[in-house]
């Protein structure tokens, strides 16, 4: 609940901080409506569409409405998938508006004690510290390996958790050991005639829970002729903070990352998670009001490239033989990879280059799967409805392999497969893991 007093403060901050030109840039043509998953899933509710949400933000600025509970719900239910941006002829930066609005609400509203504690622990205590991320993942590993997981499942204790969380527990990958997580390489030579010098942005979750995928990424880069530097002082990209109304936290992380990479003599900074990549390419916007950092952020941004883009660029798929046993493969876009980083053709071209498989495009592959960071946990009901639609489209392709390019999407697709009881027939994999499989 927001108190009336809090609403007043939020309204005042909206007037001060929201970018009026950007709000006015929306001419309300409605071209965004068909691209919005929550608009469609909610049964065409304008308040759950980008046009509606922008109109609501503007109405709060104009004093037409108060930022009440319904207003917050409308913003909370937004996936932040930004599918509305590429289809917007006027070029409205919806994502920026959303981020600012969420930050204003969150910073000026008193959360309940448990929520406050969890937020503090996650946003300040955990994600900004890679060593703690390792410890946390280590705990999960202990849970999985010690037999505790079996006990938990057998006792049915997981039933006490919301359904999506309980299912999520089942689909989490087998995490690496502490030792594996600690001994990370800092430099890797090219294993083919050299093409590019790159730095690798490891990511917080990717370098712990999805360590295997990071290893595969680096291996592919080496095979593609890239020399790789992996700076130790890098940290979480800050996307989770930025999307949850913790803008200051994300600015701090951004600055550390810029510092970690700016003195390296590299052509690109490579990421393998669409969600992180999209946040990294937005650092110049995040730090736009900070004169000391704006230019540095821009230089950083210009080097960011997704792993699929660089592999495609250096013609990896033509130089290295890729082959797999017959299977139907389909691809689920990572929203941020597609809508913000504009990477959609490269992953498809790489998949199509694998011999022996059949690539089948699913309907609406560009529509969000409902993962959206922690959306599938906090807005579980809407998320599961969106996932159900996604699984329908996935099944229609008869694919046995669903490929994604972002950890959140990967977990969500695994969740979808588990929910449908398709474990035996279908698997979800990160694109680099499949490419690695195809190399071997």
């Amino acid at each position: 609940m927001t108190t009336l007093q809090e609403q007043q403060v939020i309204q005042d901050r909206f007037k001060e901080r929201m970018d009026e030109d950007e709000l006015l840039n929306c001419m309300r043509c409605g071209f965004c409506l068909p691209s919005c998953p929550t608009y469609i899933t909610s049964g065409f509710k304008e308040s759950h569409s980008p046009r509606g949400r922008i109109a609501l933000m503007k109405a709060v600025v104009d004093g037409l409405i108060e930022p009440d509970e319904d207003f917050e719900t409308s913003l909370n239910q937004c996936l932040g998938c930004r599918a509305c941006e590429p289809v917007c002829p006027s070029g409205v930066n919806y994502g920026h508006l959303l981020e600012e609005a969420r930050d204003i609400i969150n910073q000026n509203k008193k959360h309940s004690l448990p929520v406050r504690t969890v937020r503090k622990a996650v946003f300040e205590g955990l994600f900004p510290h890679q060593n703690r991320m390792r410890n946390f993942t280590g705990l999960l590993g202990f849970y999985q390996r010690s037999g505790l997981q079996k006990v938990a499942r057998a006792t049915g204790i997981m039933k006490l958790f919301p359904e999506s969380l309980a299912t999520m527990e089942r689909v989490l990958p087998k995490v690496p050991t502490m030792k594996e997580m600690k001994n990370r390489p800092r430099f890797l030579p090219a294993e083919a005639p050299e093409t590019k010098k790159v730095a690798f942005f490891t990511g917080c979750l990717m370098d712990t829970m999805f360590l295997e995928t990071n290893n595969a990424t680096m291996k592919l880069l080496q095979l593609a002729g890239c020399e790789i530097i992996i700076p130790e002082s890098q940290n979480c990209c800050g996307a989770l903070h930025g999307h949850s109304g913790e803008k200051n936290g994300s600015k701090e992380l951004a600055k550390k990352n810029i510092q970690a990479f700016e003195d390296l003599d590299v052509d690109y900074i490579i990421t393998n998670a669409g969600g992180c990549g999209a946040f990294l390419v937005d650092y110049d916007h995040l730090l736009k009001d900070d004169p000391a950092w704006k230019e540095r952020a821009l230089a950083f941004k210009n080097k960011i490239k997704d792993i699929t883009e660089i592999l495609f660029e250096v013609r990896f798929h033509e130089k290295v033989k890729l082959e797999l046993p017959f299977q139907i493969v389909t691809y689920q876009d990572s929203c941020h990879l597609r809508n913000v980083m504009k990477t959609a053709a490269a992953p498809r071209a790489l998949l199509q280059a694998i011999e022996g498989i059949e690539f089948k495009e699913m309907k609406d592959a560009d529509r969000c799967c409902g993962s959206a960071g922690i959306y599938n946990i906090v807005e579980s009901e809407m998320s599961m409805q969106i996932l159900d639609y996604k699984m329908e489209q996935t099944k229609a392709t008869h694919a046995s392999t669903v490929v994604t390019a972002n950890p959140g999407c990967l977990l969500q697709m695994k969740l979808g497969i588990e929910r449908e009881g398709l474990n035996e027939k279908m698997r979800a994999v990160h694109i680099v893991d499949l490419l690695m499989e195809a190399v071997k």
């Binding site: 001419m27 309300r28 409605g30 068909p34 109109a55 609501l56 207003f71």
Partner: protein, 470 residues
């Protein structure tokens, strides 16, 4: 306006989940795609069938509550802005394609069907529904009927009106009538079907429509002609028609529009050309081939600097899709984008383009022009800023002159966007006092309490204002 008692009656008809009077709910139905118009309704209601619509309208009629039927809110005349409050009607539950009749070549639909969904559904059966407004991905058939929407294929195929052959309508008193039928000929009484198409929700609510379909053209070819001179492009338009060729599409875009569209679509449009014509012909392959060749020759004769024919279907589609985004793309330039759709006889297109440029010069405005040149329907658009009062005054004056010029050339104040509230003050310019009086007589007869979308079409006073004040 809607007290607790009325609210209970409404809820008893549609259920709690289909009535919303929250601030957020009302705010998000307070606007459409028309700049500078916003007004909160008292509530928003989503009836599930015709009977519920009729029951709701009866309640509204009894208590004199304005009724505003709304499709996707993509219209450009303020037609669905609830300027007098009242109840906004949504058709999200009434969105079924009820039948595609391949023997009679008709489709029967509910108003909430999305235009493109219908187009795709009939094309899957080898049939064709030609009206294709720019917003067809989101607009609804109900909205198209109420606004009599046009589109890129209007030149050869006509507009929505030409494809509506039967309607089910809920009148202002709550009675339900049916007009027309699956008939090629029908002269039984007044042509109510035609009267209701384009009536902007001021005479009743369309709850079902039967649409005429045609066989899908065998092939299609798309070309782009580039010009160094605006008027040469416009002259070509008249020349093509005078040579007895009716292309499916004949669109005009000036340089300013080209630039913003390219900014958005990034498909390699020739942004150094002063103007382009986007031309499409469809039909039997030999006819298309012959026409396209002839059109290309005519373009060259009229000093087109180059003529490019799209090589693939994807390339052709990219061109038309980009054209559809023109208006919204122009919104990149300035905070407020005001557009009009003055329409003149085809032979006058060049004169109209010339006049628009002179008017832009006179009022020191940047007017970008694009539009369906082939059917004389132009969209002069001014990127401006509603916060700049002085410039808005000039915009207002410029549009007044554009309207006057259009009428002088034998044209009209609106070709396809409708009158709504935005152009109501100018309607008299086109119809004269007597014309307005005759139309008002119809309105009063069918809606004596003036509850159906009040304030639209007919201006409260004759002050001429398009963009200033509300």
């Amino acid at each position: 306006m809607i007290n607790e008692q009325i609210k209970e009656r409404i809820i008893s008809i549609v259920g709690t989940e289909n009535f919303d009077d929250s601030k957020v709910g009302r705010l998000t139905y307070s606007y459409d795609a028309t700049p500078n118009f916003q007004a909160l309704p008292d509530g928003v209601v989503s009836p599930r069938n015709t009977e519920e619509v009729a029951e709701l309208v009866k309640v509204c009629n009894e208590h004199h509550i304005p009724v505003v039927p709304r499709g996707a809110g993509s219209n450009l005349c303020g037609g669905t802005c609830p300027t007098e409050g009242g109840l906004v009607f949504l058709f999200k539950h009434m969105n079924e394609i009820l039948e595609i009749d391949e023997e009679n070549l008709t489709a029967t639909v509910q108003p909430g069907v999305i235009t493109l969904d219908l187009i795709n559904a009939v094309e899957a059966k080898g049939l064709f529904f030609p009206p294709d407004p720019g917003s067809m991905k989101t607009s609804t058939i109900g909205g198209n009927i109420n606004e009599n929407s046009g589109g890129l294929r209007g030149l050869k195929y006509g507009v929505t009106r030409d494809y509506v052959i039967a309607l089910e309508i809920v009148l202002a008193n709550g009675s339900i009538i049916r007009t027309g039928g699956k008939l090629a000929k029908d002269v039984a009484g007044y042509d109510f079907t035609r009267l209701y198409v384009g009536s902007e929700g001021t005479l009743g609510i369309v709850t079902e429509a039967t649409l005429k379909l045609v066989p899908i053209p065998e092939t299609k070819k798309t070309m782009l002609a580039l010009y160094e001179d605006l008027e040469a492009a416009a002259t070509t338009v008249s020349k093509i028609i005078a040579n007895k060729i009716i292309p499916a599409t004949l669109e005009f875009l000036d340089q300013a529009t080209l630039k913003v569209v390219e900014d958005y679509a990034k498909i390699g449009l020739p942004t150094d050309a002063k103007a382009v014509l986007l031309i499409e012909q469809d039909g039997a392959p030999e006819v298309v081939e012959r026409d396209i060749k002839k059109i290309a020759d005519l373009c060259t004769e009229e000093n087109a600097v180059s003529v490019q024919i799209a090589k693939t279907k994807a390339e052709a589609e990219a061109l038309t899709t980009a054209r559809r985004a023109a208006l919204s793309a122009l919104a990149r330039l300035k905070p407020t984008t005001i557009l009009e759709d003055a329409t003149v006889p085809r032979s006058q297109v060049a004169n109209m383009v010339k006049a628009i440029n002179e008017i832009a010069e006179k009022y020191q405005l940047n007017i970008c022009t694009f539009g369906h040149a082939g059917d004389g329907n132009l969209h002069p658009t001014v990127p401006t800023d509603a916060r700049n009062k002085e410039e808005m005054e000039r915009v207002e004056k410029a549009f007044e002159e554009i309207f006057e010029k259009a009428i002088e050339l034998g044209g009209t104040i609106t070709g396809e966007h409708g009158v709504g509230i935005m152009k109501a003050p100018y309607l008299e310019l086109k119809l004269g006092q007597e014309g307005i009086a005759a139309m008002k007589a119809i309105k009063t007869a069918l809606d004596p309490n003036n509850i159906m979308n009040p304030g639209k079409i007919f201006a409260k006073d004759s002050r001429k204002r398009v963009v200033i004040g509300q």
